[in-house]
Symmetry: C2
Subunit: 376 residues, 2 copies
Amino acid sequence: MEGQKTIGIVGGGQLGRMLTMAAHSLGFKVIVIDPSDNCPASQVGALQIKAGLYDGEALRQLAKLADHITVEIEHLETKILKKLSKSNVSINPAPETIELIQDKYEQKNFLQSKGIPVAEFKKIDNYDHALEVLKDFGGKMLIKSRHGAYDGRGNALVTSRRVLQKKFAKFANRELYAEKVINFTKELAVMVAKDIKGNIKTYPLTETVHHRNICSETLVPARVPANIQKKAFSLVNKTVKHLKGSGVFGIEMFLEGEEVLINEIAPRVHNSGHYTMNGCLTSQFEQHIRAIAGLPLGDTALTSPAVCMVNILGERDGPTRVKGLHEALSVPRTYVHIYGKSPTKVDRKMGHINSVGDTIKQARSRARQARKHIDI
Amino acid sequence: MEGQKTIGIVGGGQLGRMLTMAAHSLGFKVIVIDPSDNCPASQVGALQIKAGLYDGEALRQLAKLADHITVEIEHLETKILKKLSKSNVSINPAPETIELIQDKYEQKNFLQSKGIPVAEFKKIDNYDHALEVLKDFGGKMLIKSRHGAYDGRGNALVTSRRVLQKKFAKFANRELYAEKVINFTKELAVMVAKDIKGNIKTYPLTETVHHRNICSETLVPARVPANIQKKAFSLVNKTVKHLKGSGVFGIEMFLEGEEVLINEIAPRVHNSGHYTMNGCLTSQFEQHIRAIAGLPLGDTALTSPAVCMVNILGERDGPTRVKGLHEALSVPRTYVHIYGKSPTKVDRKMGHINSVGDTIKQARSRARQARKHIDI
């Protein structure tokens, strides 16, 4: 189409793929930057600039071709994005927000400075300092890489001097900080959208379940009392108001007793929001495209009483072969989304399943049953 | 992905485009046959064999590359499809079904032979014969081309000898038949899906509104008494049982007093089923892909009390430019789907709007309000 607007996405993995589909429905053209051949987004019609996410030249090229730039991941070049945001292209969320979130320690500092409760944390300057912090935290702490960490990569639980020594060797040359271990009873998450005027729409409160630090299930709506819901939404709204730029944000939280603590922010669509594709009036992907393209936000209401998302993680290393789709789709009110990635790898995110139901128990049982059938 | 199954679609227009999106979500690869450069399906990642829909060589090529073949339109080469269906590729719906539906006169004969009520109709052999039929039908009838007609093209209302003469000249060299004019109070439609085992799932009964013979609105659920609903579903089930092959079928009906008559069958996803994208648990596009790929059917329940679909038809001839998206999306619970076609032409199907609401009145008012804002 002549005069068709173009959305540029930094990253063309599964999030870029699902964003691309949503953008196409609204009549946009899509260009992604991604280093992999035949990346998931390019398979669904995104044009691909084959380059790494820190490639300044690729970013400049994208800015020339696109009307709106967004990201599917926060680990990317922000200095050039900042410069480009002064040109004709809109960049959302704001590169400053991405930069803030890239550094987990600065993210915590920021949250704390705004009066938002987070787990106790401390910067670690060196091994001796880390030993002190371990003592302060009662002999147990998490050490985390400040940069480039996701899905638990770059995090380690430290319970002794010996473990600390080992982890320090492993994380050599990485900037670290320490976090007190939270005895949480649940992990909660909320997807929240902000348009370019600052209007905010929140999706329902969800429970997330992690295995080996990777999100494995999302249960919606979260089974928590009304006062906890209220606390969570109040924190989420407060947090998002302070984040510059439009888009969808994923806010992960811990529930510890009656307290809600913010764990971390994703400045983008998020795994814990995949349930919206079959569970809400507007999917997080369409919502993000609306938000970054300067369009009004869609309704976030649930369309079924309960939804459960289960990730399809790889269970072996080798070429991808989707098996069991027939059996999985024979489960009532169950939807399978495959990302087109190959090869499969242990714990690689290959797809997800959404099941809806009258209760969480029913939706979860459906999604788990379907998951068992899929071999990828 | 290695070992990825491929869906072949004959036709890559808006229906092929939305089928492609649904197929990608389920992990399929898609190849379409379409004669137009940059056809709507190819824009969303379908590989395109650039050829006409009657091109036998292209069909044979598609059969070599695809595991499952389906169609987005019934006006295509069926003889070769019939031969190919004896090879390794599955073709659905059955080429015999497509062939039957291609000839509107044979379609009516078939329905009548199965005891399904249709408007009175007669074959027209020549002008003199047509004059007789006009007399029999009380001086008023529709003449219709037996082949290649859709969206009212190839149909004409005849109310006098003079009009008949004129239309006969216009339709020279086309095989014709005549239909008694029905004084319908409503036009109804149902999307219905059949899997390869013959299991049937029906979507809700809808009301369709046509302007200049083109579907302009679909209202769901239809505002008719329970006995009419029952009659309609009974006819739809009876009809679909007689159609060979799997897939989604669109069944259009007339309501005349207390009688329901079948008007025509589309052996494919259909404009009157576009509301399912934002109104039902499973869209007609995912449903069709499931059906033709031998997968179990999804649930067809509504996710909102009422849905209204309004077509975005071109209003001028020229390059496509989407305007008013912001205003349209500011209408509550409203979704816009753009097909990526250019140029725009008067009455060309450029996109559609789905609005959901608590009542038909509310959903319709939303969709119409949004439609007014879009200039394409």
